[in-house]
Symmetry: C2
Subunit: 554 residues, 2 copies
């Protein structure tokens, strides 16, 4: 079978396959929004393309359209007013089911080629998608470009590479010859068909509408499944643009565009109808633990890949780069106003203080110094608004307002005026202090720019606490600062037992809340915060089955 798109993108695929094995830094999608890479007019073109959608109906030509909905919020105060088609869930599923056999028969290489072409097109439109991500999620521009564009594309490509890596090991056919002593051998020919398990539902979140959507979308698609993307109602445009690109590529290839569709729903009941539909065989979900648990208990017909709430934390035991540590932590807490599922919420500091290159630092001093580091980082309003972005949801604004109830305020949150977007809800982090015993305060996820400096007896207590938090509350990230190998070893072993990714002594340009495709196994998939990682073999292998047939040959 001819697979021109596969051949066209083969070098990228081969490099990605190499990257997921060697796990060094690699990407085919430049993260700098450079005119040299993306074109001199790319930035302006992208912005205009998004603005052209404002107030319009977003046409997708999907089946069963029953009306239009414009539910998006606008954290920067820029009213999008884009109306999306609402389609009957059953008709979206019918169309998806109908599209699957053709997609299956295209074969693994054919499917992977189409996926790589979709990703390449998405990459070329990174500015457009970045603007959509920024205006819906509230991310700062650079983050919207990088995390919403190239980094999200990396995660999509990573999923395709894993899918191919598994599928390529299934031979199309085999000859089987079993000796029968003195008699002629038994001989058979066997054919092995890779078959997607069925309709995939990908439920996105409001803060990372592409980064958390592409892995499931491309993993499911490459392994032979039709995909229904159900974006968060507050951040539809980035998903809608991505789905439209996918549908365009499919149509160009003579394939049924309904293989990928967008589900904008009138109410939550429609999401539940989709999730529990017998034809839906996998669900990728990023969002609340409550709905994740509901899916686990009710959508038992589907394999669930869930990224939920957690309590990320860092232990400060000692450091030989005190200022670097403070700067690193300050940036972590400020980046996108802590609206990342990987942002640190609890920082454990021994009551007796810590040894540093700047001498011994007491608990109180560390609180003060971290607050000062945050203030220093945000001193320049231009830097502050770029780093902080805007607050995505009223619920987060509310949490910031009432945060002081949960601890003693070390640093209060301030509203910052955004020079370009006067209505943007920009907030600085609130930093609280509390005791290890105040578990109700820091052991519940308080999504947003809210962090606790928790006073612990010593590092041993903090490590035990870390293990318990990971096991019972979940965490996507954990960090430690220590100059003592035995302490790092103890924390490492706790991270193995509980199952959390550990960052050690980050004092320069990498942050605990960052996770790089092809190198970092995001989320691990072993604790309540996530039952799957981006990405590994387990993320793709269960999305398809091998259906064989066999017959005798002479």
């Amino acid at each position: 079978m001819s697979t021109p798109l596969f051949d066209q993108h083969r070098d990228t695929l081969e490099a990605a396959l190499s990257a997921i094995q060697t796990r060094g830094y690699w990407t085919p999608y430049p993260e700098q929004p450079s005119p040299k890479v993306y074109g001199e007019t790319a930035s302006e073109d992208g912005k205009r393309a998004v603005e052209a959608c404002f107030g319009q109906a977003f046409e997708l030509d999907q089946p069963g359209c029953t009306g239009w909905l414009a539910p998006e919020r606008f954290p920067y105060g820029v009213e999008l007013g884009i109306r999306y088609p609402v389609c009957a869930p059953q008709l979206l599923i019918d169309a998806a089911v109908a599209a699957q056999p053709q997609w299956q028969r295209l074969g693994a290489a054919g499917r992977v080629g189409v996926c790589l072409e979709i990703l390449a097109r998405i990459n070329r439109r990174s500015f457009e998608i970045a603007h959509a991500v920024m205006l819906t999620s509230g991310q700062g521009w650079m983050m919207a470009f990088q995390a919403g564009g190239p980094h999200a594309q990396d995660r999509g490509l990573e999923a395709v590479a894993y899918a191919w890596d598994e599928m390529r090991r299934i031979p199309a056919e085999a000859e089987w010859e079993k000796p029968q002593g003195k008699n002629p051998p038994l001989r058979m020919r066997k054919h092995y068909e890779i078959v997607g398990r069925g309709v995939a539902l990908v439920i996105g979140c409001s803060t990372f509408p592409t980064w958390n959507t592409y892995p499931g979308l491309f993993a499911a698609l490459a392994t032979g499944n039709p995909v229904i993307v159900k974006p968060h109602e507050n951040a539809i445009l980035p998903a809608a643009l991505s789905v439209r690109i996918a549908r365009e590529v499919l149509a160009e290839q003579g394939l049924d565009p309904n293989l990928v569709s967008l589900a904008v729903v009138q109410d939550a009941a429609d999401t539940r109808t989709l999730a529990t539909h017998p034809a839906v065989k996998s669900i990728d979900f990023t969002g609340s633990s409550a709905f994740g648990q509901w899916l686990a208990e009710n959508a038992v017909q589907a394999q669930l890949y869930a990224e939920l709430a957690g309590v990320n934390h860092v232990l400060i035991d000692s450091t030989d780069r005190y200022k670097g540590m403070l700067r690193n932590l300050a940036f972590t807490l400020c980046l996108y106003s802590g609206q990342m599922c990987t942002t640190t919420q609890a920082i454990f500091v021994p009551a007796g203080g810590i040894d540093t290159d700047q001498g011994h630092k007491g608990y109180d001093e560390i609180c003060t110094d971290l607050a000062a580091a945050i203030d220093a980082l945000l001193a320049d309003p231009a830097v502050a608004t770029a780093v902080l972005g805007a607050i995505q949801s009223p619920a987060t604004l509310h949490r910031i307002e009432e945060a002081g109830r949960h601890g003693e305020v070390v640093l209060a949150s301030r509203r910052i005026e955004h020079p370009e977007f006067p209505q943007a809800e920009v907030r600085t982090p609130v930093l609280l202090r509390c005791e290890a015993a105040d578990e109700d305060a820091y052991m519940e996820e308080r999504f947003g720019p809210i962090a606790f400096i928790v006073r612990v007896a010593d590092s041993a207590e903090a490590i035990a606490l870390s293990e318990r938090i990971v096991r019972t509350r979940g965490a996507l990230t954990a960090g430690i600062y220590s100059t003592r190998p035995a302490v790092i070893d103890a924390m490492t072993e706790a991270s193995w037992r509980a199952g959390v990714a550990l960052s050690i002594n980050l004092t320069s340009g990498v942050y605990v809340n960052q996770s790089g495709a092809f190198s970092d196994f995001h989320g691990v998939g072993m604790n309540p915060a996530a039952n799957a990682a981006y990405a590994d073999a387990a993320f793709v292998a269960n999305r398809f089955r091998v259906v064989q047939r066999r017959y005798h040959i002479e």
Copy 2:
């Protein structure tokens, strides 16, 4: 780290890795019970070793032993009277949890080496295990040796090969260097630790106490998990011998033998306690759909790999080897008295009859001829008892007795006297005829030697019926006899849509109910009869996670 067992068995592993990719015939475990291979005295030694267990306590030196139980049935009338230790579920789990960290630190190669050594030891004791399988399951001797010995070992090795194939692609560490334009690059070292997800529970069945136990046991073990084997109460000895061998190898290697333990339970509540225990992270289960469903709904903390009931079936559309077809089907129905999860239960025959190399054959004639083929196969009592084995459970005997209520009897079941075991419950198959509309009759699994020749309008109706049965009732096997490519193609496409392994025109020495390791994906894992296959990447990839740590380097 030194891995002598891995090095010792490396050739076997490499060959297995090649076999799961090329999927031709291969095995390192000879299936012929030959003295040249297994030793001149192996047969007698094996029998004596099993007999030496009769009436004794089976010591395993496990923690928390609260008593002894001897619940096994004896389908051949040979009373075993072996008492097995009953251990408190919580103490078995505590011991398993305690054994895991050491097993993890041994690393993938170390674990795989130990697994391969256990399999090699089990192979050397194939006669002993075969006798145990025969006396507990009721299988005929040759089948007990082959399916209970080498073929089961093949499936265990296959799981180890898949586990290694996934784990070997995770590097122990990586260097990550991200360019920063004119600034020095960001550099990190990252370490990747493979961590088993937690205690694995492997729940065996009474008919294939090793073949259906080894895949889960070895998949879980190789990927870093402690395993508790909970055999069926009617077929404990084969599992107990296997567990003892595993514990011996572990102890010899200085590892905690409680990594593999045997759970013989006082009542079903203990099984439910084990299955729903928070520390249990995977369950491999072969058995009833009712308990499988219970596990799916209640053991939500665990990944479930289940092989359940189904309605296997064959469509006869036409054939150019009529006699070969009848002989093949007759053997399929007789082998181990149909007590295989892969045995055909429904045979669809067009009302208008079929074209064959012996001329056109009407539906009635086919019924008569298949009955005659069964009679011919079983004419020699020595052959009959060897092929049929004995009926394992009273429930199956009861189903045989009442089978006539579900259709018109074409061939009645007979009791056959076993020359060596006068008390053995040997039964010939009962063959019934019915109409396609009699769905209550043939669309419910009637485990044992009970088959229906179902009159259908035509092959198109039969293919539609096949697809519906696979989707709604499940099936591990489907077959078709046809000389018409278009009919085979239609059946093939139905098999893809519904997800069932298809055997085409089997007229010689391979039977639809046989499934060969390294080549056949047993069970597919896409329909209600099984949610996983033996074996593929999906069978192993979800049993471990990668926990990483990272830090800057200069």
